[in-house]
Subunit: 341 residues, 4 copies
């Protein structure tokens, strides 16, 4: 059985495993107050050209989303998100469990646009009962989105402008950020993200690490006391240096980009093969998640040898599914899948 169902089916890239082994018996203080975390933070500040940012390391994505959002909002404020956003759909209500409403907006291909945000805020402000409604205060985007699509620099700039207009924080979930950074057509690099957002994170779990997300906080109001928030939300790893060591490895010699490119190269190969075989797609994108539409009979056949995700029913005989590549995907497995299509 060959698994394409997600980008977290394996452990970590060998460089990280080696480094964890090499540093295993070092003695360090706990809770990310060690030299590895410090160095990893510096490497990331540099990669983002954001010397004034603060970088924190958390274990997973849901944890990161809830900690960041909890650090930003007052009790009566909410976070605008695509209706397909991870926080709205796939985190068992983690944001609500902290007391905050996710204000869902209709999305096209997993994306929302500046005008929608502007409209939502304007409607709120102009409503006579505005105090009876949740006040929008943050925008949550994913780059890439849940559907593997990417915001362009222009789109993000427009969203930034609207955020400034309505005093909203802009937060980007980068659980799969590496795959977006190196994807075809992408024009948003780390520096642009650091410049346009108030806070974003660089996903490690799905991009070469055993686990770990690096949060880059630009806005001073969100920087303040952030470690209290991490601890309270259960995200303060005792052996924090594990996170430091991993991100040090990923960012000291460009490994993060390198492993991302591997995934994209194989995704492109698979995508190309699907196009040639005239499959259509549930959504078109250039990142590591591919959403072909297939006959159900074909899916039954594939299921015997390949793992993939069921996405949604298209019609009586067809469904959309998801195949992922990752830093760990073997070319021979992609070839086997292509042969089986």
């Amino acid at each position: 059985m060959i698994l394409f169902q997600s980008d977290y089916t394996e452990g970590a890239c060998p460089e990280i495993m080696e480094r964890l082994l090499a540093t295993n018996m070092e003695q360090t203080p706990g809770y990310s107050e060690d030299v590895h975390c410090m160095r990893a933070a510096e490497l990331i500040q540099k990669a983002c050209n954001a010397p004034d940012s603060k970088v924190h390391f958390l274990v997973g994505g849901t944890q990161t989303n809830m900690t960041v959002i909890g650090a930003a909002l007052r009790p009566y404020q909410g976070v605008l998100s695509a209706e397909t956003g991870h926080i709205h759909v796939h985190e068992t209500g983690a944001v609500e469990s902290l007391g905050y409403k996710v204000l869902a907006l209709p999305a096209v291909d997993g994306k929302i646009q500046a005008e929608q945000i502007d409209e939502a805020c304007t409607l709120h402000k102009n409503d006579a009962s505005f105090e009876h409604m949740v006040q929008p205060k943050m925008v949550y985007l994913s780059q890439p989105t849940e559907l593997g699509t990417l915001y362009t620099k222009k789109e993000l700039e427009e969203i930034r402008t609207v955020c400034d207009k309505h005093e909203l924080y802009l937060f980007i979930d980068g659980a799969r950020l590496g795959y977006g950074l190196v994807a075809g057509g992408n024009d948003v690099d780390l520096e642009a993200l650091a410049k346009l957002t108030d806070v974003f994170y660089i996903g490690g779990t799905k991009v070469g690490a055993l686990f770990g997300e690096a949060v880059v906080i630009k806005h001073p109001a969100l920087q303040k006391d952030f470690r209290y928030m991490i601890k309270q939300k259960g995200g303060m790893l005792a052996k924090g240096r594990l996170l430091g060591v991993q991100f040090e490895t990923l960012f000291e010699n460009g490994l993060y980009m390198e492993v991302s490119k591997h995934a994209i190269r194989l995704a492109d190969k698979l995508r190309e093969a699907l196009i040639q075989k005239e499959y259509s797609f549930f959504v078109e994108n250039t990142t590591n998640q591919i959403f072909p539409i297939m006959e159900d009979t074909k899916l039954e056949e594939l299921k015997e040898n390949f793992g993939f995700c069921y996405q949604t029913r298209i019609d009586e005989n067809h469904s959309a599914v998801r195949f992922c590549t990752s830093w760990a995907t073997k070319e021979e497995n992609v070839d086997a899948l292509i042969a089986a299509l």
Copy 2:
């Protein structure tokens, strides 16, 4: 200026004011542990033919909704509601502030149907990632709805069946219940509500009382420890007997129905006049909220003498607005409005 903007523009009906005066210097224990609350509860149990129910009195609607929902849900569970539901739109995220997600469903004329609920629960159960999603556990309806429409008995029976199938609690918000009970075409009486729901409430604030909502709890799991919940959520009135006195007055001789009929008679008069003048409606209903569509110029003119609520823009020159009648509406004011139309 004559106000039609809501059904809470006046104080309370004279019978209640008299009774409050008459009992003013009685000494009673606090926190609704007095004879008036006890008697009011018995009158309501009787009116609902629900001797096994527990009746509690709270001050307002949002408070009641959050207390009931908080008593019912586990942290990872959510409440299904029409996207137009009061808890989703007009309570500043009170339900989310307790940690629970409102699972909004598309609504037609403010109502959701059994099939939608069934589908949402079935999708949840069949999703491979169901544990990553909020588990539906309660259905929240309003009778009448935010748009003044009513569920039929058949619709409620179908929803009850789906609730039983998926082990959901059924909760009905009756903030304007009186106006629904006596409205044209209604076939859902108090007894049916008590039989079909796990918990519902009888609104006093908008139906003759100074304030107060009577919660009728049928399901034993929701009855347990409910007073702890009331206290924690800030709804335990020190002089609880004020609530008891009011509901005693409303329910001992049919006053609740009587004042409701007054409002409906005047609403019908206004509705009839609007129809004759060939206004169309944003939504058709038979209760005390009327939503005509009017020219903006006409609205500007009316605004000088009449208070009403802006509902939504219809087209470049037309808007939908809301006029409410209530137990307190004077016929001469309705006549004046009709004359001005």
Copy 3:
């Protein structure tokens, strides 16, 4: 049976009942956006000599405490309180239900002192694991305290100084404030409270009103968006003018002080009688709550005709109990109690 168990056994003072009756059929907008609330707010600003303050009206004390505290704290912050404080003991964890820890300090006669607050904050800041502990950010006091004692102006000034040193908000719960303002030996008036605190409230429920607490907010950070908080926490009364009318009545001609004096005069009479009969006291104070220590046999006897509160066991044969007077207490009832002692 004559009840002395609390100061909320009756309705409201006649002046308030009359005014509620007189304004009953006035039409006003809801949610405290009416002329009565506006005027009441102005009267209170004036009484406090605090023109820059914002005044809001809520229904009850627990509701007020949770709304104010929720408006002030970030998720990782806590509120320092006497271990006997109402928020720590008698609100079913309402503050914790919003996510905040009550940081309890040992109290003497219901009071905490500036040095304790200073020490708690200093310990926090100097602890190497400070981020693993709740950060103190607010001080909660009651005036009078749960045990009827009063802070002196000097004590409050010292506490203010410590609050400034550690950037803490100072919040005073004045559920029984009237009885403190006019009590023997008190040197803290409304103006001093408005000057020394960031937020405090003037209790109506126990001091002449049917219900209602007037929150006076001095600190701009707490003023911002406070009405969103009121709505979310279930405290936005639909017929808000009921609160306005009551506080208007209490503050336009000194009624608040007048009814308070009545209670204190009768409390002093009862206290004097107890002293003459050589009862000792659980705590000594000058306000409307009296805590004599009595033989259990005597209490059994009294119980047949008088209601009072059991406070705590003192020894095998003695207990401390609480008698309250209020604006509504009849002198003949106090005389009857004195005769029975």
Copy 4:
């Protein structure tokens, strides 16, 4: 610099690192639904002789505590804990952040006793205002405690009896459980823990693993839907198999006990040396945390070469400090410390 300040200064024991390496490129489903987690769960059920228990794996202790407590309590319920308990002091209010009050009880040497629990519950039930107070529903203990002390089997049995009497859940935090299991004088084994508690956890982070805690749930009400809770609270590790692999390694051949014994042997050596040098102790215990009282001048001297934790001031010239051994402690380092004493 040699660190004795905590038991999480190194990575993981070599057997675990090897296994992580060996399984690194295996493809598995995410979220702990893999063969390693399944096998680890079985090994633990067997070690506890608790075939009906459910075993879940989480990353860290605070996360585990909040998830378990959140799964157990209704909003108005609280958890009884020693005032020195980790949840009360060192988790930045994580339990309160979920809405629950920690009901702190005075502790002797970090422990609370059955009678205290009984008394707290009895007082609650007998209080006339019980609904105004948080209802005790769970007991939280640590084994070993924060001060390295151990509950005896007899003590736990008495606590269990009180829990049954008052319908309380009994939850034991075993963040350092291994060190307790093999400590001198301990008579509480895994089987006893599984028999006496409703839920407890076996700490990995401090006992040989990189990270990870294995929660053993006995009570059916706590088993239900626990994975929803894990996900919502941010504890659902994408590569859950990392937890499975680690606990598999720890429990398949007794490694968990073996590494614990190493720590205890070296702790005993250090403790013995301190006794011989006539140091007194802040608290006496037999586990891996040692709390000697030392002159401040001596501490200044030691600080140059050794890391340790400051515990508390004893008198003008003396302080209590903490030294920890762990699975990773080198005997030569203990010898160096002994030499320096």
